[in-house]
């Protein structure tokens, strides 16, 4: 360091940065402007529809109530459509671009999202295999983060965990009867549990650390094991408990560090974040589940429980900033589809986007 003058330091830093200046991006800027305009039009349309519906309902209620006695029981308020899609998480139709805010009953249960001074950022939703029920992380009765389930239409919201500290990172089993999650239970040590939704009974599967990138369980397609992020990388462990097996990380599968793993619906592929030994990262990778054919693809963080499209051809993830990407795994083509912090697939044409 002593051999470099101030001017040399600044000149070298300048040259290092200049080497990374991208080529002409004017087209990108215009596309971003067009996308913003389109989103504004869509948002205006959603709000307009909401206002219209509210107005129609209000007029109808007023007309109905005129000449009648006031209701003697609790007033039934018309369903209020939440603010525009920029204010709440929303469902995005990839074919039409239509954005539908989540039902109010769901997003009312979401905030504040904190645990031990931390905030959940992405990864709070998981859809049941039959597409009827959404698990999500919300604010529980005791003021801590707990897992809830609800109909996708927002009906029947109910808390299904009562962890003394918090329950986060939900993922449904393939048969839709159990939910894996990261909880703390007594003693406050984080573990992965499997919850029987019908009985409410939670069974410990394996210990993990409190590090935010550890946990993130998902079921293998046959439902027998959990794929999760542990200290050694992306591993599997039998749901019934037992020894875990590292698939990617510490040199396994060609990866140095690995996390956020998610297995394709047919079990043939795994996508994850991480780096090759001594390689740059974190990057997004795809590999065969047996650890072969490791390759880098576009994209950044994802919600493991909702990463793969049901048809297994695409993944949804962020671009590392504020855009949601859909990446075709075979071609590597990445498409920006929305602004948001995270997203999961609801079906092959629909995403649930977290703002």
């Amino acid at each position: 360091m002593a051999t470099m003058s101030d001017r040399e330091i600044l000149d070298r830093a300048k040259r290092a940065a200049e080497a990374l200046v991208p080529d002409g991006r004017f087209g990108d800027l215009l596309r971003r402007r067009d996308r913003k305009r389109r989103n504004q039009r869509i948002a205006a349309g959603v709000v307009g529809i909401a206002v219209s519906v509210a107005a129609i309902v209000a007029v109808g209620v007023a007309a109905r109530d005129s000449g009648r006695q006031p209701a003697t029981s609790g007033t039934t308020r018309p369903s209020v459509v939440p603010p525009g899609p920029t204010a709440s998480d929303y469902v995005l139709d990839l074919d039409t671009g239509a954005m539908t805010p989540l039902p109010r009953s769901i997003f009312h249960s979401l905030d504040p999202m904190d645990i031990d001074g931390h905030y959940i950022y992405g990864g709070r939703y998981a859809l049941s295999p039959d597409g009827s029920t959404l698990a999500f992380v919300g604010l529980g009765d005791e003021g801590s983060l707990q897992i809830f389930i609800t109909g996708i239409d927002g009906s029947g919201v109910r808390q299904v965990t009562n962890d003394p500290v918090a329950a986060i990172m939900p993922a449904w089993s393939p048969d839709g009867t159990t939910i894996a999650y990261k909880g703390y239970a007594s003693g406050g040590d984080p573990r992965l549990f499997v919850l029987d939704v019908a009985t409410g009974e939670a069974t410990k599967v394996i210990d993990v650390s409190a590090k935010p990138w550890e946990g993130w369980p998902t079921f293998t397609p046959d439902g027998s094991s959990l794929l999760y992020s542990g200290s050694a990388g992306v591993s599997t462990v039998p749901v019934a408990g037992g020894k875990s097996t590292v698939l990617f990380g510490r040199g396994r599968g060609g990866m140095g560090n690995a996390g956020g793993g998610s297995m394709s619906p047919d079990g043939s592929l795994v996508t994850m974040m991480g780096n090759e030994p001594d390689g740059p990262g974190a990057l997004r990778f795809v590999a065969n589940a047996n650890g072969t054919d490791l390759r880098v693809i576009s994209g950044y963080s994802s919600t493991p429980a909702g990463t793969w499209s049901p048809d297994g051809t695409r993944i949804v993830c962020t671009d590392g900033s504020k855009y949601i990407l859909v990446v075709d795994v075979a071609t590597g083509k990445a498409t920006e589809v929305a602004e948001g912090s995270a997203a999961i697939w609801l079906d092959d044409h629909t995403l649930l986007v977290e703002v």
Binding site: D11, A13, L20, R25, Y121, W213, G259
Partner: protein, 176 residues
């Protein structure tokens, strides 16, 4: 301190077509703004996003902007406001439970892990880095830099002086 000529004004006067003039402005200013933001953030994604965000704001107001205005200063102020907002959010984000792969990302690696000079620069406090990048690399004088950062000129001088001292002593302090 070397002062940059106002290329922006020349571009605006030379080109009557608004779309074409904006593209010229973008072409002339984008590399410089991106470079500055990259050195401030140490993150390619954030630098690109902030650069595009700043230009997008200008594009949306391009028709109504005064031809004689200091568009270069306007652009940098817009970008720096975005950067500061991002910085505040980033500090909050350190408390977040991040999605996998985000929490352990080393932003320095995204610039150049091997470029010691970049590491030295990114090791400064945010305010010192802003002052030294704008004056020592981007060619703004102290007065212009003070205006861009919304601080007094003597403060800029002090920050630049502190940055140079940190270079000399090996910067063993912590970032703010």
């Amino acid at each position: 301190m070397e002062t940059q000529p106002s290329r922006v004004k020349l571009v605006r006067e030379a080109d009557e077509d608004d779309d074409a003039s904006f593209e010229s402005f973008f072409t002339a200013e984008c590399p410089r703004l991106f470079r500055a933001l990259l050195l401030l953030t140490g993150n390619l994604h954030e630098a690109e996003d902030l650069t595009q965000g700043a230009f997008l704001k200008l594009l949306e107001r391009w028709d109504s902007l005064d031809r004689g205005a200091d568009l270069e200063g306007y652009l940098f102020r817009t970008a720096l406001n975005g950067y500061r907002s991002l910085y505040r959010r980033s500090r909050l984000a350190t408390k977040r439970v991040l999605a996998p792969g985000q929490a352990d990302l080393d932003p320095f690696e995204q610039v150049s892990a091997r470029e010691h000079a970049v590491r030295l620069l990114l090791g400064l406090t945010r305010r010192q880095r802003e002052a030294i990048v704008l004056t020592g690399i981007e060619g703004f004088d102290y007065r212009q830099t003070a205006a861009l950062l919304g601080i007094r000129e003597p403060t800029v001088r002090a920050l630049v002086s502190q940055a140079r001292a940190r270079f000399a002593e090996g910067m063993d302090g912590d970032d703010e």
